[in-house]
Symmetry: C2
């Protein structure tokens, strides 16, 4: 087991109706003025906005608001949110939405607290040493940003999608009511399921093998998500399935399934260039395409093979073929691919109307223009990344 | 899934040699004067004390110290520690040891911050609203107190062992180096394994069934601990096994394996009277005796049976006998009992030299002298508690 640090200070309040506690929770921290940040306005149609406002008013929390966060959240809006925080002297940001709203909030919080361009942190030019607190009312189970240290923003200038991690990015609280996800479309639900699975899968396929406890936790989480995912797609108002997905979204990306591992989120890096370049592509859908291609590219590697076999047998219940372990491994990859298909995800770039015209440009960006090689069972440089994109065509 | 809140703010720093970071970590919080609290002095023999002192000195952290914490930590010492904190105006308590030192520290922190008798919180007379921060350098994998909200203290006046829970009891940091547990005796290691398993088992045997994700996490944790436990008993210096036990000790009692469940730690309550009455009995050993008796007493209950079957099949790999599910359930209980035996634990009161002379008195205390009934698949009042003690004879 590798050395690790694990810090998850987010106070989780989980269950039916918890959104109505938001004013009271914010008051418990002593904050009196906040920015209410949200997305497209679906929270207004659903009535959630009114519930939140009522709760804030009841607790005497003053707020300014900014909606309009889009999927693959954009730098221009988080810049605007940061400026609003400064101008209005707000003490914290309340994100009402999913990962995009959370990440936009985190980016704005960083910019506001440091009175600088939020991109400085995303680009790596500056290290985050202070930030405004962010709290969340979660409306979609996917990104896990409600407990994670990560923040991913897309800079429209060059369509660069970049993440940065800091414990200061972890929200101070997250109110999670699975019922709020009943109205998430089947497609978005499936994107979320994929994202949740991938947060654990990227960690699971680590370079070191001695991670017995973390492996078991990861396998348990994956099995639960696979079962609950199918149920939620079939019956969007199944509370237990929605609850499993929501709680799994947090646990899958707060570090729990990665503790003690030596790993890199390489499929995420490869996918970021895809949804960064083609803004219409949902991150989860991009991952459903990239993972099978990446897995088929790498699984025969001698360091990778035992992990792929363990994954196939423990998560998918595939019998081990000891004579031909690579067959066992491949069955696990195919099971994953078939599962993605079964919940309505694309598994090839062609299904996303992406041809081979920009593969080289995406790979070039993914290497930070020649400045990094992705860490994996074998180093993934531009050539290897292009090969993976090609396998995904 | 029941409503839950989950709050684990403890910063975990895990791996070889992390104890040498203690001064630096304390300084990062801005504390300048602390109480160094520890147990019997084994940390002096092992050299750990010197490492801690060197690190504190290097970081300019002033400290006063108080050793002497015993297993089943005593109120008299935590009172003394609280007074020392007040007299010396210390800002935090550093617990170097296991659950006993941690709980003594938590109790002292509560008393010092509120300038009152720490027992007021243990007895339930007063609710904790502020406390001194506690940090930990862990030397034994067992109680999980390094991340838990619980604090259990024994009042020598009447030999009452009482716990109380508060998020303010959660340590601010925990430095965990599995190597520090190499010298823990086989017996104490086995007590720790039992305690770790029991923290999850008590939660696992919950009244509600819809806890798919938490079940999978709990089962994964149990399987890892069972495997690693046998290895650590066989080879005390197996780093990976010791690391699994140490990390499992934290995860098993920080709430993770209980989220969404409706449960009560009833075996713990029944055992507390045992090690409270017979101070020579280690808590883990007491649990190894109580669990099989409790399980055999309750497993045929119609609400309990499905859980016991799931436990038997998923954790112990026992095939389900669909005609006679109670046989499957019983096999799971027997497997647990045999496992406890295999690591050197007692499984009957007679092995602890406890006869039937004080069963009624213990049961009386366990009902808080008629003021509570333990919540379980069926209510456990004095009569039922005596029956369970008798089954354990």
């Amino acid at each position: 087991m590798e050395q690790f640090s694990y810090y998850t200070p987010t106070k989780v309040i989980f269950g039916k109706g918890v959104q109505s506690q938001v004013g009271e929770v914010i008051r418990s921290y002593g904050y009196k003025k906040i920015l209410l940040h949200y997305g497209s306005g679906s929270i207004k149609r659903s009535g959630l906005y009114d519930q939140i406002v009522a709760s804030l008013n009841e607790s005497g929390i003053e707020f300014v608001e900014l909606g309009g966060v889009q999927p693959n959240p954009k730098l221009s809006l988080s810049r605007k949110a940061a400026q609003l925080c400064i101008d209005e002297q707000v003490e914290m940001i309340l994100a009402v939405g999913g990962g995009s709203v959370l990440d936009s909030s985190k980016s704005a919080a960083a910019g506001a607290a440091n009175r600088c361009d939020p991109w400085e942190f995303s680009s790596g030019a500056r290290k985050l040493t202070k930030s405004l607190p962010v709290g969340a009312v979660l409306t979609i189970s996917a990104a896990g940003s409600e407990m994670s240290n990560s923040c991913v923003i897309t800079n429209e200038d060059g369509w660069l999608k970049r993440g940065f991690g800091s414990d200061l990015n972890r929200p101070i609280f997250a109110l999670m009511n699975p019922e709020l996800t009943y109205t998430v479309s089947k497609y978005q639900t499936a994107c979320g399921i994929t994202d949740i699975m991938m947060h654990t899968l990227e960690r699971y396929f680590c370079m070191n093998g001695d991670v017995a406890l973390t492996d078991r936790l990861a396998e348990g989480l994956l099995k639960s998500v696979i079962e609950a995912g199918s149920i939620a797609i079939e019956n969007p108002e199944d509370y237990e399935a929605r609850a499993t997905l929501m709680w799994a979204s947090s646990l899958s990306h707060n570090g729990l399934t990665g503790n003690g591992r030596d790993y890199m989120m390489r499929c995420h890096q490869i996918e970021h260039e895809l949804s960064g370049m083609y803004d219409r592509i949902a991150h989860g859908a991009g991952l459903a395409v990239i993972f099978p291609a990446w897995a088929k590219y790498i699984y025969k590697n001698e360091k990778a093979l035992p992990r792929f076999c363990q994954y196939a047998t423990r998560v998918w219940g595939i019998e081990t073929d000891f004579e031909h372990p690579e067959r066992t491994a491949l069955k696990g990859i195919e099971a994953t691919e078939n599962y993605f298909k079964s919940i309505g995800m694309p598994v090839r770039l062609s299904e996303l109307d992406v041809d081979d015209s920009k593969l080289e440009e995406m790979a070039e960006k993914c290497t930070f223009f020649g400045k990094r090689v992705l860490k994996d069972y074998m180093p993934l440089d531009k050539k290897e990344i292009i090969d993976i994109y090609k396998l995904a065509l």
